[in-house]
């Protein structure tokens, strides 16, 4: 069963991307064929993931069902893939998020087929990364994930935004090199690839432990925009005007977070444990910075960016806390968060696009878009932590562990979450404020029924996950 399912789940989107590349553009620029292929591929993969979910022991805290695929060229060895609840939840969340991103493409015709092609490629790489069970395959997919994103960003960048791909590549390339060094060192030490579960137990040579762990740490931190390494993603996000690319780029930092979860055991290696308070401080400084800049920004997309990264950093603080029980809560919360964020991105990009037709600001635009208003309000309530999704209880546990580890770090984290919730709520009120609307603005369109249905389904999924996080496991 596993032997067949895991490689299929990894490579099906890659196969789908070939179909997308071969599809024709329809009249009017909208690539119905490409979109349909992409949607069907993602849906089929979701079903396969659910099937795989049913076959594993969800309460077992280790990678199960390990599949070995021989590596045909040097260095000799094999690639190992496997699945556990954490990895599968993230993979499922990414599939859901990409599906919403694809549905959001309807208003954005420029380079649509290319964007879809690389999105499928990204999905394949991301699935491989989250199912990787050994160091070599982990590294391979870690690097492979940035290639389609680089191409996507380059494809949609115009004018002044053309510098963006270089920034994106610069930081991520440095991150890839930083991870390559420890991977190579460990490979040389062991003379074979090492299973990820065994990394924490490796005996490092004297003096090199600090270098190896620091290198791993920096590689992951470059993916997660912790200050002062945050600039690449903030500069990239400000110029991305395509919901699918925005969604993909904002899913990339999960790889850094996942890396920390896998490599960062509760009993920290002695070489790095003394630096934890320093990392935590950097995290909360970044959270504060993002919260303040999100609050002061007037752009919907900037606010979304701040919101998304503050939550990623909250999860990172949870990973740093000296306990292993949070893994499950982070998985549940992250799954709900990915769906909420992708749903909000889908609607925010539509609102942003439509508000360009208004004479003044986007204030009050939701009064003209009842369906978008309904979906956005519900997703936002879930997103800011109201008890309608798995975010609520799991974030409560994560925060309580952070507070337990360091009360001041936890208090600042709660403050930034509060500030984020406030600016998102203010945003909602502004968008619903009828008094901001001028007359004669009837040309603004609401989201179509398909996106409304998608938003509603996401809310149902979120609500079910609030009642029972693994309701879909049969």
């Amino acid at each position: 069963m596993f032997l067949n399912l895991i490689p299929i789940i990894i490579f099906l989107p890659l196969l789908g991307s070939l179909f997308v590349a071969g599809s024709r553009n329809d009249a009017g620029g909208y690539s119905y064929n490409a979109v349909n292929v992409a949607v069907w591929v993602v849906c089929c993969n979701v079903l396969l993931i659910l099937k795989l979910f049913a076959s594993i022991e969800v309460n077992l805290d280790q990678i199960q069902a390990i599949v070995q695929i021989p590596w045909p060229i040097a260095p000799s060895g094999a690639l190992f893939f496997g699945a556990d609840m954490l990895g599968l939840m993230i993979v499922l969340g990414i599939h859901g998020a990409l599906l919403l991103g694809i549905l959001g493409l309807k208003d954005f015709l420029y380079g649509q087929r290319g964007v879809l092609f690389f999105a499928m490629f990204f999905l394949s790489a991301a699935t491989g990364f989250f199912m990787a069970a050994d160091l070599f395959s982990f590294y391979m997919f870690f690097v492979l994930m940035i290639c389609p994103l680089f191409a996507q960003i380059g494809l949609i960048s115009k004018g002044n935004a053309q510098k963006t791909p270089s920034r994106f590549f610069l930081y991520n390339f440095v991150g890839a090199i930083l991870l390559l060094v420890p991977v190579a060192v460990i490979y040389t030490m062991e003379n074979k690839t090492v299973l990820i579960a065994d990394i924490a137990m490796l005996q490092m040579p004297d003096g090199s432990g600090i270098l190896i762990w620091s290198s791993i740490f920096l590689a992951f931190i470059l993916r997660l925009p912790v200050w002062p390494f945050h600039y690449w993603i903030s500069s990239v996000n400000t110029v991305l005007k395509n919901p699918l690319v925005f969604t993909c780029v904002n899913l990339l930092p999960i790889s850094g977070l996942y890396g920390f979860i896998r490599f960062w055991p509760a009993a920290l290696p002695v070489e790095i444990s003394s630096l934890v308070p320093f990392f935590e401080t950097l995290c909360v400084i970044t959270m504060l910075y993002l919260a303040f800049s999100g609050y002061s920004s007037t752009s919907l997309r900037d606010k979304m960016f701040s919101y998304i990264f503050i939550y990623y950093l909250l999860y990172l603080l949870g990973v740093f806390s000296p306990t292993d029980v949070l893994k499950q809560n982070i998985a549940y919360s992250l799954f709900a968060f990915m769906l909420v964020a992708a749903g909000m991105i889908m609607i925010v990009f539509h609102i942003d696009n439509e508000s360009s037709k208004l004479q003044n600001s986007s204030g009050g635009i939701l009064c003209l878009q009842p369906k978008a208003a309904f979906s956005y309000a519900l997703l936002l309530l879930a997103g800011i932590g109201f008890p309608v999704s798995a975010l609520f209880w799991n974030n409560f546990v994560i925060m309580s562990e952070i507070l337990n580890a360091n009360v001041w770090v936890g208090t600042v984290a709660v403050f930034t979450i509060l500030l984020t919730a406030i600016f998102q709520l203010q945003n909602l009120y502004d968008l619903r404020d009828k008094s901001c609307l001028l007359t004669g603005q009837e040309k603004v369109y609401d989201i179509d029924n398909l996106r409304f249905a998608a938003g509603t389904i996401v809310m149902i999924v979120l609500f079910l996950s609030f009642i029972k996080p693994l309701w879909f496991v049969y």
């Binding site: 920034r167 920004s297 499950q328 609520f392 507070l403 509060l418 009120y429």
Partner: protein, 559 residues
């Protein structure tokens, strides 16, 4: 018992939302009301039977602990639920006849869900259940307000309060590894951060109560519909705060800091509420200030160490709501203009319902005071006396200004009262209820004295003579606490955010780091290009450099 009621309420709430033809809508809301009456009878029978049961559902189980939904059918919970049951019944009955509610079915359903959420909050014995239903009531309150302008600050203030409670409960859970409320006392004895917890909890509760300094969000409610506004103080966040206060009291009153701050804030709230209720012209603002004042006293009464939530306390809440309802109907019969300056006397309007509402108002006030007598213990004596000295003149002032203000509005503005018939029925019921409260507490003398003083004050109008509202125009327009919020909190955060974005992202990264990197790369590319150009000197330099590198490796290198 209570669990059965919750299940029935949920079903009833969902049924009320079923989409029907317009003509069947009335059947649905009447059916909902009747069903709620039956449930109320079942509730009273279960309460008086005195059978105690526990209903427990394991909601979620994880390595971090189990979350249970608990509904305990115990006498204390029955007592605390009772006033909210009565208020929801009154609201549903009013909704049956009230013609200016456009979405009657949705309103009925909302009231039923609100009652359900209050029952779950009151029954809650663990942090997660409590904080969940605090959030749920906040969401329902936002739907109740239904106005963006009114709910903007309401939502944000309550979010701040909720996150404060969230922080407190998360901190306690992290340290105690326990989600149960009884562990609060344990935390007070052994916990590390009592002061932090007390301060955060105190601020959260004060915001939720809408006490002095934190009350400005309540004033925004003036842009909400009046019949919805009167429900907010007695079926929304201030009552959530009251329930939480009663639950957390064993922990809170151990803190001298909390008791000290509470007394000061309560005194200021009562004074500020009384002043606002007298000075303001806008009737909605008057109602909000008046409710603030009443809530402050209710909290003072509940803060007493010997306090037990009994039937008299429940009647205080009910009478408070009934007074708001009477004010609303007085306003409804006089003109339905929110600004008292433009109120006109009820010329051309049938005055019978006005008399009935006026009578009901007096009885409600008398009943309130009669119930208050039950709490006239030495610890509360000065507070109750002081409150009484403010309460009666302020209530009389509101009442007399409602029914006795002349205006020069044109005759065409005359309000045609064609739909008053249900109101006398409604108010008769309220009056009988209020009278029964007086009977229950055998406080006839107090009730009679209060009514006498009230009538005298209405006749003499002392406050109206001393405070002419037109003298306070600037004071009425001034919004000190909104400005305080804007200039001390919102603007500095926005300013800091902009400065940080500009300094860190633009100046430091864009103009310094990225530019330096690009410049460095450019210098390197140019240097290599220069070296690779044809020319004798460059050739020599290139070869010399290669030899230098070779020499270094030969001399210093190891094999």
């Amino acid at each position: 018992m209570i669990a059965n009621i919750v299940i029935c309420l949920l079903a009833l709430g969902v049924l009320s939302l079923v989409k029907t033809r317009r003509r069947y809508a009335y059947v649905i809301i009447a059916g909902s009301f009747l069903a709620l009456v039956l449930l109320a009878m079942y509730f009273l029978r279960s309460w008086t039977a005195g059978i105690e049961t526990e209903f427990l559902v394991l909601w979620d189980s994880s390595a971090s602990g189990d979350i249970k939904l608990v509904i305990n059918s115990i006498s204390r919970n029955y007592g605390m639920i009772f006033p909210f049951f009565v208020i929801v019944l009154a609201a549903l009955f009013n909704n049956l006849f009230f013609r200016y509610e456009k979405r009657k079915k949705a309103f009925s359903s909302l009231m039923i869900f609100m009652l359900c959420a209050f029952i779950m909050l009151i029954s809650g014995e663990n942090f997660v259940q409590i904080i969940t239903f605090v959030f749920v009531i906040d969401i329902l309150s936002q739907i109740l307000i239904q106005d963006v302008q009114a709910s903007r600050r309401y939502g944000i203030y309550n979010l701040v309060a909720d996150m404060g409670l969230f922080l407190v409960f998360a901190l306690m859970r992290g340290e105690l590894d326990n989600l149960d409320m009884p562990s609060l006392i344990e935390y007070y004895n052994d916990g590390q951060y009592q002061n932090l917890i007390i301060i955060v909890m105190m601020i959260s509760l004060f915001i939720k109560f809408g006490f002095f300094i934190f009350h400005s969000y309540l004033l925004d409610l003036q842009s909400a519909r009046f019949h919805r506004l009167i429900l907010i103080p007695y079926l929304s966040t201030p009552m959530v705060a009251l329930v939480l206060f009663v639950k957390l009291k064993p922990f809170l009153i151990e803190s001298a800091l909390f008791c000290f701050a509470l007394d000061i804030v309560l005194a200021l709230t009562i004074l500020w509420g009384a002043a606002g209720a007298v000075i303001m012209n806008n009737l909605k603002e008057k109602t909000i200030y008046f409710s603030m004042m009443v809530t402050a006293l209710l909290v003072k009464v509940a803060a007493n160490k010997t306090f037990e939530w009994n039937i008299a306390y429940s009647w205080l809440l009910i009478c408070g709501f009934l007074f708001n309802l009477c004010v609303y109907y007085l306003h409804y019969y006089t003109n339905r203009d929110n600004t008292l300056a433009f109120f006109r006397k009820t010329q051309g309007v049938d005055t019978l319902p006005l008399y009935i509402v006026s009578g009901a108002t007096m009885i409600v006030i008398a009943a309130f005071c009669a119930c208050l007598v039950s709490f006239y213990v030495p610890q509360n004596r000065s507070w109750i006396l002081g409150f009484g000295c403010l309460f009666l003149p302020v209530a009389a002032n509101m009442f007399s200004r409602l029914i006795g203000t002349e205006t020069d509005k044109p005759e065409s503005f005359a309000f045609q009262a064609t739909d008053y018939r249900p109101v006398p029925v409604l108010l008769m019921i309220f009056t009988v209820s209020a009278l029964s409260a007086v009977v229950a507490h055998a406080a006839w003398k107090t009730a009679a004295a209060v009514m006498g003083i009230f009538i005298l004050l209405v006749y003499l109008r002392p406050l109206q003579r001393w405070f002419k509202n037109d003298d306070f125009v600037n004071l009425q327009r001034a919004d000190f606490f909104s400005n305080l919020y804007t200039f001390l909190i919102a603007r500095p955060i926005r300013f800091t955010g902009r400065i940080l974005t500009l300094l860190v992202d633009f100046v430091f990264f864009e103009r310094m780091l990225v530019a330096a990197f690009m410049l460095g790369a450019g210098v390197m590319v140019r240097s290599f290009r220069q070296i690779n150009r044809e020319g004798g000197l460059r050739y020599v330099l290139f070869v010399m450099t290669a030899f230098a590198v070779l020499a270094v490796f030969l001399l210093r290198g190891k094999i």
